[in-house]
């Protein structure tokens, strides 16, 4: 579904992503794991068009997308839950969700998606008139995920959804990710919490300073001694 081939991404002179290739098949949860600064966020930003690769190719459902502007990708079916949530802090929960459906014209579908998100996150429904900046970290994460779901994406990019959350909430978020995937959405998940990510993913890629150093089935990596030592403590 998503194919990334030999991309190189720079921040001015810093070569952040070096010849990275990976793919995500339809229906999968694929995770990219790696330490701080490995390049996970940069890769997601490149896929969703917020950054451009200097070389390499990205295609989605057989269509080349690496030249597209970021705002065009949502319409193709790629939604992105960014690192640090980035909800619109001065707007209400409901307005944030409306913005998630910004490209949708079909009023009925939008209404249906609101119901779907509120059912998944009853807490957001209770707080729909609340200003998003006053939500707790966990609620903001739910809002960021709900906002992305409003567009009914085919592929959902998620950047460290567990960051800064209490263990119970982390568990809850990962359960929700599994549910979203079970309902038919393909997921590319970036995590530092490798244990959790590998436990729900089908396949995984391990990144180290901008390079893919290991790839395989999530179960195999979970049992891999090297990975255990480096990332699972």
């Amino acid at each position: 579904m998503l194919k990334v081939k030999n991309i190189n991404v720079y921040y001015d002179a810093i070569h952040a992503i070096k010849d990275v290739s990976f793919k995500v098949n339809e229906g999968e949860i694929v995770t990219l794991i790696g330490a701080n600064g490995a390049g996970k966020t940069t890769i997601l930003h490149t896929v969703s068009g917020l950054m451009k690769a200097k070389s390499g190719e990205i295609s989605f459902q057989k269509q080349k997308i690496d030249h597209l502007e970021a705002h065009k990708l949502l319409q193709l079916g790629i939604a992105h839950v960014p690192e640090g949530r980035r909800v619109f802090a001065e707007m209400t929960v409901q307005e944030n969700l409306e913005l998630g459906a910004f490209t949708k014209k079909d009023k009925k579908a939008i209404k249906r998606n609101f119901e779907m998100v509120y059912e998944k996150f009853p807490r957001l429904k209770e707080r729909r008139k609340q200003i998003a900046g006053t939500l707790s970290g966990g609620e903001q994460q739910m809002l960021a995920i709900g906002r992305a779901l409003m567009s009914e994406p085919k592929l959902l990019l998620m950047d460290e959804p567990s960051m800064g959350l209490a263990p119970i909430l982390v568990q809850e978020i990962f359960n929700i990710i599994k549910e979203i995937n079970a309902a038919g959405t393909t997921i590319l998940l970036v995590e530092q919490n490798a244990n959790m990510a590998l436990s729900i993913a089908h396949r995984a890629y391990v990144l180290e300073t901008g390079k893919v150093v290991l790839e395989g089935n999530a179960k195999d990596l979970l049992g891999n001694d090297e990975v255990r030592k480096a990332y699972l403590g």
């Binding site: 969703s48 980035r86 001065e90 307005e95 913005l99």
Partner: protein, 295 residues
Amino acid sequence: MDVLAKFLQQLINGIHVGSIYALIALGYTMVYGIIKLINFAHGDIIMMGAYFTFVCIVTFNLPIGVALITPVILCLLSGILIERVAYKPLRNSPRLSALITAIGVSFLLENVFFKKFGQNPIPFPQIINPSPISLGPLQISRITFITVLISVLLMILLDLFIKKTKPGKAMRAVSEDPGAAQLMGINVNSTISLTFATGSALGAVGGILYSIAYPLIDPFMGVMPGLKAFVAAVLGGIGIIPGAMLGGFIMGIAESLTKGYISSQLADAVVFGILIVVLSLKPSGLLGKNVKEKV
């Protein structure tokens, strides 16, 4: 009673000019909100609105409706053009470059109009019959009445536009986080254009109303009201729309009261003095947030 009447008269004058400052201030604050640029050329949009109106009425003798709409549309397009040509290429440069460019654009516009129309002020045609309306002991000029009415109406419309419509919500989203807005499928470039268009259209209306109130126009006429409207925007909290409205009215009223009770020469000093006092007490402006909410 006389004392009260005089006070009310000054107050009304202040609301009159304040509503114009508020309209102009909105353009500064909206543009600042979305691209963090102080658009120094905005004051010249006021001047352009005045000259375009003059040309429509005096040179081309257009019917009044057309002669008032055309300048607004021309200013709106100029706003979009200025952003595209002068500011967009600098969007990722240091802010100072864009600021200096804005000053450059301002000089350019002033000098183009200077070249075309000369330096001498020209009289602006009478558009509104100045005969007063009496409200009890008070005399309100028709000009004041119509100016305040139009300004308040436009501010209400702007507020509804920004709060309720999709493009309005896109503007707020881009102001808060352009990257996240793109992830929602919002086209940041066209949203920025829309912001310049809206701000410039309001500026044009402000320019026309200003010229009706002070009916002599010259190529540098936008500088003072532009500066005062900018101060109004900062006073209310730059980037905050209700702040620009509040700041505009405060500026106008302060100016008028100073003129009425202290001295005309001191009016500008008082107005800028207020800014200094407010900013030293509350650096982010009257409606500005001092601390960012947790994100």
